[in-house]
């Protein structure tokens, strides 16, 4: 009997009381802390470590649709839009449309490009707001991270305004961003320049981390120089380029090794995990010198044939392969794949010194400093193993600069396409090359994705679509 009595007591105590206690705290019971692989957004910018983790996500890989696809879209779609690259496959007809400068408004790849860019911008804006408002970060870290975030906002907006014209300038609240109208191109450019100036002020001259894979002041200055050039602000373009050139940090490297990740020419590169460039797999199909099949993107014969005789850039940066037909493979990055982390020695070079010389040359030529322009061109030509330029007038110098840019910067971040656009050459060059598909009004800008216009009726379409 005693046993039974205590048993019943035990049951009561063991089951009913905990239940009552737990019932009274039901609401609390179903509240969760963040799991081990997430942190609550409100705490992301509280410490140096987590704020840094949020900012370096902007560089690479992390976010689905972050900088890697953006970089690829810029380089590949810009390349095929111009006379620079050829898409060798037929599996994605939409890329052929880009090559034909006839992008459908419903184009999926165009839509994806747009989406990737804004995905990166949201993370950027979130970081800018979060870091600005954070009071717990070490000042030097705060300054570095804010500078990097502003650089990235400028970087993405720079390409958006070039590919699409005026685009919405978004902030850090997704649902507010969603329905913003397009800003004017001038407003976007103003934002790019203002962000880069801010970044210049915030960033240190020295690189954080190893191998010039984080944005420093020179990187901001270099991109700013380009932005001024595009805006035809030649005084500032020259000044900024000079600032980079005179920093004493950079020097032109031999073409054979200009793209390795220890190259002294590099101003900014985005590190890759395995140490091979994320462009490599589209520009080549193996590490070896022989291609089994044509790579996804090859240099057009037009560009390949426009190298002067003896140009070691053609020797070192282009190789042709035969597989049924002749293909010109872009050979700037040599490594196709690597099995282990850091096994390769190539990253993605974003900004390099050669471009700064060409920016300064152009800015000088435009301002009438012809000898200065020629001197800058000749530095590039000398490195390529070529004799000094024979151009001596402003017009011939500008033409020489355009030629050098074509053979120097091919395959990198859509330079050729943007150059053709900003210099007004696109119509002349491409209508001749693609007479059936080029449209002077429509082809100079990518269309705003139609689905986006359906979802956000405030978005206007570009002319001709």
């Amino acid at each position: 009997m005693k046993l039974k009595y205590s048993l019943s007591k035990l049951v009561l105590i063991g089951m009913v009381f905990p239940a009552m206690i737990m019932s009274s705290s039901c609401k609390k019971y179903v509240e969760l802390d963040a799991p081990e692989n997430k942190i609550n957004a409100s705490t992301a910018y509280l410490t140096d470590a987590s704020a840094t983790a949020a900012v370096i996500a902007l560089y690479n890989y992390g976010i689905y649709g972050s900088s890697v696809p953006v970089q690829q879209a810029i380089s590949f779609y810009g390349g095929v839009s111009s006379d620079e690259l050829h898409y060798t496959l037929t599996t994605t007809p939409e890329i052929t449309d880009v090559e034909n400068n006839s992008i459908a408004i419903g184009s999926g790849i165009n839509s994806t490009f747009w989406q990737y860019a804004y995905s990166e911008l949201l993370a950027t804006n979130d970081a800018i707001t979060g870091i600005t408002n954070s009071t717990t970060l070490t000042p030097s870290v705060k300054s570095q991270l804010l500078g990097e975030a502003k650089f990235f906002r400028a970087f993405v907006n720079f390409y958006l305004v070039n590919f699409y014209g005026g685009v919405p300038l978004t902030g850090n609240d997704p649902l507010t961003n969603a329905y913003l109208p397009r800003s004017t191109a001038d407003q976007v450019w103003a934002s790019v320049i203002s962000d880069l100036k801010d970044a210049q002020g915030l960033l240190p001259t020295a690189y954080v981390g190893t191998l010039r894979a984080r944005v420093n002041q020179s990187a901001a200055t270099a991109l700013l120089a380009r932005a001024y050039l595009y805006r035809k602000d030649y005084v500032n373009a020259e000044a900024m380029a000079t600032q980079v050139i005179n920093s004493g940090t950079y020097s032109l490297a031999p073409t054979a090794s200009a793209f390795i990740n220890t190259s002294n020419e590099t101003i900014l590169q985005f590190a890759t995990y395995y140490g091979y460039s994320s462009f490599a797999q589209s520009y080549r199909t193996s590490t070896s010198a022989v291609n089994i099949a044509p790579p996804t993107y090859v240099l057009t014969s037009k560009i390949a044939n426009s190298f002067e005789a003896g140009d070691n850039r053609k020797t070192n940066w282009v190789d042709s392969t035969v597989s049924g037909s002749k293909y010109y493979r872009i050979n700037k990055y040599k490594i196709f794949t690597a099995a282990t982390a850091g096994a390769g020695n190539e990253f993605n070079v974003v900004l390099r010194l050669a471009e700064q010389y060409l920016i300064r040359a152009e800015a000088r030529a435009q301002q009438g400093n012809l000898s200065g322009a020629a001197a800058d061109i000749n530095l590039i030509r000398t490195r390529a193993g070529l004799a000094n330029t024979t151009a001596s007038t402003s017009a011939t110098l500008l033409a020489a600069i355009a030629q050098e840019r074509k053979v120097e910067l091919f395959g990198e971040y859509g330079h050729r396409w943007l150059d053709l656009l900003r210099t007004g050459q696109a119509n002349a060059v491409l209508s001749a090359m693609k007479p059936n598909t080029w449209n002077a009004t429509r082809s100079v800008l990518f269309p705003i994705p139609d689905l986006q216009r359906q979802q956000n009726t405030a978005l206007t379409q570009n002319p001709g679509y």
């Binding site: 063991g14 942190i39 747009w114 949201l122 794949t337 994705p449 979802q455």
Partner: protein
């Protein structure tokens, strides 16, 4: 207490004595039974010995000097091997007992001991029962009996027999006046109860028999004959947090029992349910060991969220949904994937032979008590429990073979090469060594049937179970153990070995007030497969060489050598613990407090090796080897605590049952996925530690917490009018702070009109019930954490220069809540001719709203969508029929048929602001959720061989957006039929399964014919070949244009995808009882069983018209995708009990 220990000791004593005895019987038994059961044979000697024991034949030598009667009886018991039963109170008064130590028979010893007491004895099998000497019979006065009275001074004894006059063990005997007074019959059908009133009424219940009420009328011994229940109306049916009977149930519940499961040689309980239950559609992703299952109960209720049912194993939720998308309850939804697909079914860790019954709850009345988890239906799995009575030893063993039942008819080399040449000719290109090695390099005279080579083998299956169960009125136990080997049809020795152990123990206090029941099941499965399902390689070129002349593997840049896949092994180690404990205590008459405490832990460790030898040497860089080991380790752990209070009271002429309880549940998921690369040798590839580089591919951590309060009120008026109400308020950590808790409810009612007096005089009409229910349930199958703003961390593969990164995970939605599912059900249940014909027909209509979907936002937001409740309504409605008939029942022959049919429609009733849906084009109002849009095929252009389509929107072009129309569905229905024939000792069960629907009928062809190094099925022989041909199949070409590619998405490829399967056949023969007994068994049965024996289908170009790959739309059971089919398996085995 005394009675128990005495009983137990007696038994163990005799068992112990037997240990030393080995005789021919033992050897013989050993040869009959499989070795695994050897150890349990000892019990036979126990029973063999005691059976022949008599009080006068057994001698003892007792020495008792001035001891209590109790201790003397103990000695007698220890020596004699008999169990002695008595009431302590009656014995304790006698002390100072002495007898001398001379040898006596047990009878003599008893007489000596009881001399001078007013106790008498009688023998009952191997028990001796002491009782008070009969006094002169005095007519008993009618006493008022108070419930729970402890003044038990009368004893009632009796025997219960079945229809053949054989004793019936395990029958529950309960006093009608005092619920706590109950017992069960022993192996000899005997029972005894101490009672306070001689005028009680006792209720005898036993599964499969009609309950019987017997009034004692002063008698102290009863001889009860139970009648078998013709139907199963009074069978216990398990429902949420309780039980009921088919007769009294107000909800829609369909069940299968151990009897149905045991007949099938299946390794997963879900497979045993296929085709057996109306409203329940089940397909297996593929036929490889462990592969996942997809179960849909009454259709798809959700546009985009999970449609997984809630599995509950003995009270422990076992739907291991970890928030993956698409929702899956598979074990490797995150990690490495083997040939058996993206997931391993956790239920494959539960031995089908351990299952007592599976009850599927379908309507609101049955599911609303599961609140926000009940919308997709609930599958309650109840495992076997120890039963009172003689300890039963059983062993079951079978072994058999399985083969692919149907191969796809593919072109031979001659026809294949002709097609390829035609393709090159049509597109005006020249075959070269790089684009056509099949035409230019490979031997045109070899003809390999890849299906025969790669999946033409024989899979071996072995299954062995042993179980021991038994117990007495207070304690029951069951041990079971299972070993299973399942092979594959792949070349080489791949397959799965499963081992599981289960323990069930139950205890009831002597006064029946307290009870506890514990289940522990541990399963281990080692599944060794390869990374690729070889059945998908059916369309390799038939002249593809596999070896070079020097014996090394042949490599080509376009086609991976199929033999290389065999060199890439996967290992999947699954462990699964499910434990639960039920405790109850009868606090007051009618009031019970109880609790269900459960814990489950499931782990899966997977590896996939890719050694250098399996890679094309031309892509291998020896300086940085690309051999790799993928490794994933996932664990799920889950606890549940459910305290409950139950109250039963008779009010007027009805029974009121009330239940209130609360649930606390928490589920943790932890997963890690790693990739090791750069092993210096393939020999070292098994250990991640040997990798030059280890990359963390990410982790999968989630935590889910759930809390609920639930209640049920059931009133049963005279077994005639029954109403049932359920309520649940629950809160889930998946939902936003603004909507974390919700209320769910249902009402159900039943009217057993056959109980009405006006129906009672129809002799052919035995049962009639109308029932209906309406209520609200919810669906919570979305990812965790969507309501709040988080940053995700990524693994090292996504780090930047060795530093980890974090990024915003999603747009938070604090208003997130469950999908609301309103369920309506109306049914009629009819029984004729003493329930020999039983028909159940349900009409159901489920409407789910507040659809959890991805709402599209302009991508300039930074995300393209966020999860929200969307104003769209999905309806599932239809009819379910369940018919069981006993066609013939004679002394030696019985024929029983069970048939079920479901006619079901799924339809999107409305979508507001459809354009905001992320996948808006996928959903069409008025069409099923998984509607398929197809081009309308108008024939092959006889001039060009190019397919043509109708320009539905008349815009002059055939476009994806404008020219596709919903595919016709026909009149879908599905079901199954089982016929069971019993002739004397022979039983034959034949089960069919059918599914009628429209679907893709030729999806294994990859269009256009002749493109690439791909063989085609035999339909390519009928292709357009020359101008003027009128064919329905396009011409061959190497450069396909859009019309070619659209062909497969046109109604040219749509037709009757129905099938009928001879699902299982079971033939068993129970050896004659007399002979079986003579060698010491109580049952010995041999059987042959087959599964997936024959399939009739018009859909020829697929292995199995039923296979559905996980996550693949549309619908279940379409055979649209190629995967290893469920094998045609045949086994033989034997089953013995003693």
């Amino acid at each position: 207490m005394q009675k128990d220990t005495a009983f137990a000791k007696g038994k163990f004593y005799s068992l112990f004595k037997i240990f030393s005895r080995i005789n021919w019987l033992f050897v013989m038994r050993l040869s009959v039974c499989c070795g695994a059961i050897l150890i349990f044979s000892f019990s036979l000697f126990a029973s063999a010995r005691t059976n022949g024991q008599s009080l006068n034949g057994t001698k003892v030598q007792l020495h008792v000097h001035q001891e209590s009667l109790k201790s003397a009886l103990q000695k007698l018991q220890d020596q004699s091997g008999f169990s002695i039963f008595y009431l302590s109170a009656k014995v304790s008064g006698y002390t100072n007992i002495s007898i001398d130590a001379k040898p006596r028979t047990v009878a003599e010893a008893l007489q000596s001991l009881l001399k001078g007491t007013d106790l008498d004895y009688h023998q009952d099998g191997n028990k001796i029962i002491l009782s008070e000497k009969k006094k002169t019979a005095i007519p008993a006065k009618k006493e008022e009996v108070t419930a729970g009275a402890t003044d038990m001074n009368k004893r009632i004894v009796g025997i219960v027999r079945d229809e053949n006059n054989q004793p019936l063990p395990g029958v529950t005997v309960r006093s009608k006046q005092n619920n706590t007074l109950s017992t069960a019959t022993d192996i000899n059908g005997h029972f005894h109860l101490d009672i306070s009133s001689e005028n009680d009424v006792f209720i005898f219940t036993f599964i499969g028999y009609k309950p019987k009420e017997v009034a004692t009328n002063g008698s102290t011994s009863l001889d009860i004959h139970m009648e078998p229940a013709a139907g199963t109306l009074d069978e216990v049916q398990v429902i949420g947090y309780g039980t009921t009977t088919k007769r009294a149930n107000t909800g829609a519940v369909s069940s299968i029992t151990a009897k149905d499961i045991e007949n099938q040689p299946v390794s997963n309980p879900l497979a045993a349910m296929q085709g057996k239950l109306p409203g329940v559609q089940i397909t297996q992703n593929n036929g490889l060991p462990g592969s996942g299952f997809r179960v849909q109960i009454r259709g798809i209720g959700s546009l985009a969220s999970g449609t997984l049912p809630l599995y509950v194993v003995d009270g422990v939720p076992f739907t291991l949904f970890n928030g993956s998308s698409p929702a899956s309850d598979g074990l490797n939804a995150f990690g490495v994937s083997g040939a058996n697909g993206g997931e391993i079914s956790p239920l494959s860790m539960i031995n089908p032979d351990d299952i007592e019954r599976i009850d599927v709850l379908k309507d609101a009345d049955a599911t609303a008590i599961y609140g926000s988890k009940g919308a997709n239906g609930v599958v309650l799995i109840t495992t076997k429990k120890g039963a009172t009575g003689k300890t039963k030893y059983s062993a079951n063993f079978y072994q058999g073979v399985g083969k692919v039942g149907h191969f796809i008819d593919m072109l031979n080399t001659t026809d294949y090469l002709a097609m390829r040449r035609a393709a090159f000719a049509a597109s005006g290109t020249t075959p070269t060594t790089s684009n056509a090695p099949d035409l230019t390099v490979w031997d045109p005279n070899t003809n390999t049937n890849w299906q025969k080579e790669l999946i033409g083998g024989t899979a071996h299956t072995t299954n062995a179970d042993i179980a021991i169960s038994g117990g007495n009125a207070q304690n029951t136990f069951l041990f079971s153990s299972n070993y299973r080997h399942e092979g594959t049809v792949f070349p080489g020795s791949f397959g799965a070995n499963t081992f599981s152990n289960r323990l069930n123990a139950g205890h009831k206090s002597e006064d029946n007030k307290f009870g506890i029941n514990l289940n522990v099941n541990y399963g281990y499965m080692q599944n060794n497969l390869i990374g690729t399902d070889l059945s998908t390689l059916y369309n390799l070129p038939p002249n593809l060489p596999t070896y070079n002349a020097n014996g090394s593997l042949y490599w080509n840049s376009s086609v991976t050598n199929p033999l290389a896949y065999l060199l890439r092994p996967t290992s999947n180690t699954t462990t699964n613990l499910i434990s639960n404990m039920d405790v109850y205590y009868h606090l007051l008459p009618g009031l019970t407090v109880k609790a269900n405490l459960g814990y489950s832990a499931t782990g899966l460790k997977q590896t996939l090796e890719t050694p250098l030898t399996s890679l094309n040497p031309s892509t291998v860089v020896l300086s940085s080897p690309t051999n790799r080991l993928q490794y994933a380790d996932n664990t799920y752990s889950n606890y549940i605590v459910e305290p409950q209070l139950e109250y039963v009271k008779k009010i007027l002429s009805g029974n009121l049952q009330a239940l209130i309880g609360t649930t606390f549940q928490r589920t943790n998921t932890d997963g890690l996925s790693l990739l090791g690369t750069g092993f210096s040798s393939d020999a070292l590839i098994g250990n991640l530690n040997n990798a030059a580089s280890i990359v963390n591919y990410g982790s999968n951590n989630s935590d889910y917490k759930y809390n609920a309060l639930f209640a049920r009120l059931n009133y049963n008026w005279d077994e005639k009018y029954i109403i049932d109400g359920t309520f649940r308020r629950d809160g889930s950590s998946r939902f936003g702070a603004n909507h974390r808790f919700g209320n769910f409810w249902a009402v159900g009612a039943g009217w057993v009109f056959s109980q009405e007096s006006f129906m009672k005089n129809l002799p052919w009409f035995s049962f009639g019930k109308l029932r209906g229910s309406y209520g609200l349930t919810g669906n919570d199958q979305i990812q965790n954490y969507l309501y709040d703003a988080y940053f995700n961390a990524t693994g090292s593969a996504n780090s930047y220069q060795g530093q980890s990164i974090i990024y915003p995970s999603s747009i938070p939605n604090p208003n997130l809540h469950w999908e609301t599912n309103k369920k309506l059900d109306g049914a009629i249940e009819l029984g004729f001719f003493k329930d020999r014909i039983y028909l159940k027909a349900d009409y159901f209509r489920n409407r789910s709203s507040d659809q959890l979907v991805s709402v599209a936002v302009p991508t300039q937001a930074g995300f393209n969508s966020y999860t929200a409740n969307f104003p769209a309504v999905v309806q599932n409605n239809g009819f379910e029929f369940e018919l069981s008939t006993t066609n013939i029942q004679s002394r030696s022959f019985k024929w029983v048929t069970a048939f079920n049919l479901t006619i079901q429609r799924n339809k999107i009733l409305s979508i507001d602001n459809a354009s905001q849906l992320f996948s808006s084009s996928s959903y069409i109002v008025g069409q099923p959720v998984n509607a398929t849009l197809l081009y309308h095929f108008t024939g092959i252009d006889p001039k060009t061989g190019i397919p043509t389509y109708q320009d539905l929107n008349g815009d002059g072009a055939i476009t994806y957006a404008g020219d596709r129309a919903p595919a016709p569905l026909g009149h879908p229905y599905y079901g199954g039929m089982t016929n069971s024939f019993t002739y004397k000792n022979i039983q034959l069960d034949v089960a069919f399964q059918f599914n009628h629907r429209m679907g893709y009928i030729n999806n294994t062809s990859s269009y256009p014919y002749g493109t690439g190094l791909t063989n085609q099925n035999a339909s390519a022989l009928q292709r357009w070949m020359a101008p003027g041909d009128n064919s329905i199949y396009p011409g061959a070409t190497t450069v396909g244009t859009t019309p070619y590619y659209n062909y497969n998405s046109s109604d040219a490829n749509w037709g009757d995808a129905s099938y009928l399967k001879l699902k299982t056949v079971n033939i068993s023969y129970a050896l004659p009882k007399t002979w079986v007994r003579s060698i010491g068994f109580s049952n010995l049965m041999v059987f042959a069983r087959g599964e997936n024996l024959v399939t009739w289908a018009k859909q020829k170009y697929t292995y199995d018209p039923e296979t559905t790959v996980s996550g693949a739309a549309p619908g279940l059971g379409t055979g649209q995708y190629i995967a290893m089919p469920q094998l045609r398996t045949m086994v033989i085995g034997l089953n013995c009990t003693f």
